[in-house]
């Protein structure tokens, strides 16, 4: 996709739109492109968040309620005028936010991608957490298309459908840290760098809560299988005995190792250690769960 994005950037003008179709995506309907273009042009938006449906290995789905939460959010978003970042965008799934950009946004994202290319390469697996930064750019305006435009195929072997402890410890930790690093090191891209950092941290904490939940689920399944003497799947044994809060610890340590902990403490004043970060994540998790329950009622 990088080569084709480069071709797009080379040939397109600021107002041109790129609609991405990765090899695990399909257009849900034939007027999907029309809706995206209509919404982006009429709202003067630079990013379009689209609704999507998942299919394939759905049992392995770790997106928020199979994209249900995301689609609800997009529905609300579609009724608003396009605007800058709002905290509820943290709930949006990256499957839906990385599909339609104006050239100017894609250019900045590509600049970051090439700047941090070595870091991407080191992480081997790919998670699109760093793409969240696009919402925070000074010129970003976000709109939504309520009717699903993309069909997302969940294939076996993808990062979201495999149980591999390394994907959590290295890839996910790495990409969340990379996002924070990008925000901290490129203040010129935002109207208000301090606010951008705060939003990025908010997103990182939300993702941490989500990933903690996934790890807890994997760990519970592995423990149960182990106790009943059932055969464990490949990579599943690594989740036996994983304690709650492990991912938060890994993340905090990585942030500290990259000297980004200053940024965290700048925004979360009570977070001065790994334990206090863990406590903060727990509190946030309770808040998210409570919000989810309330909104579903």
């Amino acid at each position: 996709m990088i080569r084709i994005k480069e071709l797009f950037l080379k040939t397109a003008c600021d107002d041109d739109i790129a609609v991405m179709l990765d090899d695990d995506d399909a257009l849900k309907r034939s007027d999907a492109i029309e809706d995206i273009v209509y919404m982006m042009n009429s709202r003067k938006a630079t990013i379009c968040i689209t609704s999507f449906e998942s299919c394939g290995e759905i049992s392995m789905d770790i997106t928020n309620k199979g994209g249900g939460k995301h689609n609800e959010l997009v529905h609300i978003l579609s009724k608003r005028r396009a605007g800058h970042f709002t905290p509820d965008l943290c709930y949006a799934s990256s499957i839906g936010w990385t599909k339609a950009f104006k050239q100017e946004t894609a250019k900045t994202m590509h600049y970051l991608l090439t700047k941090y290319a070595d870091e991407y390469r080191k992480l081997e697996r790919y998670e699109d957490f760093p793409d969240f930064i696009a919402f925070l750019f000074s010129n970003s305006r976000v709109c939504g298309v309520p009717k699903p435009t993309h069909l997302y195929y969940k294939d076996k072997g993808r990062i979201t459908t495999t149980k591999n402890i390394k994907d959590f410890e290295v890839a996910r930790v790495g990409f969340l840290t990379l996002l924070l690093k990008m925000v901290v090191e490129n203040p010129n891209l935002f109207d208000n760098a301090y606010k951008a950092e705060a939003h990025a941290i908010e997103f990182i904490v939300f993702k941490t809560c989500q990933i903690e939940g996934i790890m807890a689920k994997y760990s519970k399944e592995a423990n149960e299988k182990n106790a009943s003497g059932k055969k464990l799947d490949k990579g599943e044994s690594d989740f036996i005995g994983i304690m709650p809060g492990t991912f938060s610890k890994w993340l905090y340590e990585k942030i500290k190792a990259d000297n980004l902990d200053v940024s965290i403490t700048r925004h979360l004043h009570n977070v001065t250690s790994c334990d206090s970060f863990l406590q903060y994540v727990y509190d946030k998790k309770k808040e998210f769960i409570l919000n989810n329950i309330l909104s579903s009622k």
């Binding site: 739109i17 609609v19 179709l21 492109i33």
Partner: protein
């Protein structure tokens, strides 16, 4: 099909109709002079026609002439009104309401064509001008670079350049564009001649009703002409369809030429028209999905909603894709869509530099 109906078009229709009626009358006089041995002073043929009408005033000829004239003008009016109605709808085609009403606004030109076809079939008198006009329209389409191409590909700033690119792509293919033009125009020309001859015979046979024996002979000839015309039309259509497919494939195959790609890039860089790029990543593992994506992407282009937006599909193909996908070549499948997509496909096939 260009659905724009201007005042000049209506005038042209009427003029063509009048000319075709005069041609028929003239042919009839020649035929009559051949059968009866009477001689006509051509500059005064109109006076002679009056004299002839007086001779047959008690026969069915007058009825036939009146009927033809009535049908002719009724046909013209019906066709004009229906096309104007389509045109009015066409102006509002971008609105959400119209989208909702018709689902796919692409139906409008088809509807217009259907109305024209029905008018042509049931009200046969406008056939002459219609055939001639049809031929002129095709010529116009072939020769025009700014207005001849479908609306959705109308790049206001650089239409010539786009067409040049497309022409370039076609020229680099298996068949030269000149061959295509020559063949198409030749086929259309032959068809036009056959159909016009057929209609001339039919009309003449109506005029010659009083001479019963001759009329039967002419009717039989006309019948065979009609069958021959239908067969030629069918063969030509089948051939043209296959021909277009082969042409499209060759465009796709040859568009990887660096020269074409460079010109395409240059054109895009210079163009200020808003564009939508659909960036498709193609993986050999997901070939069917790619096929569906491309079809849907092209479907969205086909809806003609992008009056001033150029939709370009760029694909990034993994190296094993071409080798692995042999049974269901997506490009070939997509080619069966329509002539319009042939042009899009020449752009689809532009791949990033390896």
């Amino acid at each position: 099909m260009d659905t724009q109906l201007k005042f000049s078009d209506i005038i042209r229709y009427i003029l063509l109709g009048c000319i075709s009626m005069l041609v028929v009358t003239f042919a009839f006089i020649l035929y009559d002079s051949y059968c009866t041995g009477s001689t006509y002073n051509l500059p005064f043929w109109v006076t002679k026609l009056n004299a002839y009408m007086e001779i047959y005033s008690s026969s069915l000829t007058i009825v036939a002439v009146v009927a033809i004239a009535s049908f002719y003008f009724v046909g013209l009016i019906v066709q004009g009104i229906s096309m104007m109605f389509c045109q009015i709808l066409y102006y509002f085609k971008d609105t959400r309401f119209m989208s909702f009403l018709f689902g796919d606004c692409n139906i409008l030109p088809q509807w217009s064509a259907l109305v024209a076809f029905l008018t042509r079939t049931f009200v046969f008198s406008p056939v002459f001008f219609y055939e001639i006009n049809n031929y002129c329209r095709v010529l116009k389409f072939r020769n025009s670079t700014s207005s001849g191409y479908p609306k959705w590909l109308n790049i206001s700033n650089h239409p010539e350049e786009l067409c040049e690119i497309i022409e370039g792509a076609i020229n680099s293919g298996k068949y030269r564009d000149d061959d295509r033009r020559y063949l198409n125009e030749l086929l259309i020309g032959i068809l036009t001649v056959i159909r016009m001859t057929m209609w001339t015979f039919i009309v003449m046979s109506v005029f010659a009703l009083p001479q019963v024996e001759t009329a039967y002979k002419i009717l039989i000839i006309a019948f065979f002409c009609m069958i021959a015309g239908a067969i030629v039309t069918l063969i030509a259509k089948a051939y043209a369809s296959e021909y277009i497919k082969s042409l499209g494939t060759s465009i796709t195959a040859r568009c990887n030429d660096t020269q074409v790609r460079e010109r395409f890039n240059k054109m895009l860089a210079a163009n200020g028209t808003p564009k939508v790029f659909i960036l498709v990543r193609t993986c050999s593992k997901n070939a069917p999905m790619y096929e569906r994506n491309l079809k849907r992407a092209l479907d969205s282009i086909n809806r003609q909603t992008y009056q001033n937006i150029l939709v370009i599909v760029l694909e990034d193909v993994d190296k094993d894709y071409d080798n692995q996908v042999t049974t269901a070549n997506p490009v070939k499948t997509t080619l069966s869509y329509s002539i319009k997509l042939r042009i899009v496909l020449s752009i689809v096939a532009v791949r990033p530099q390896q």
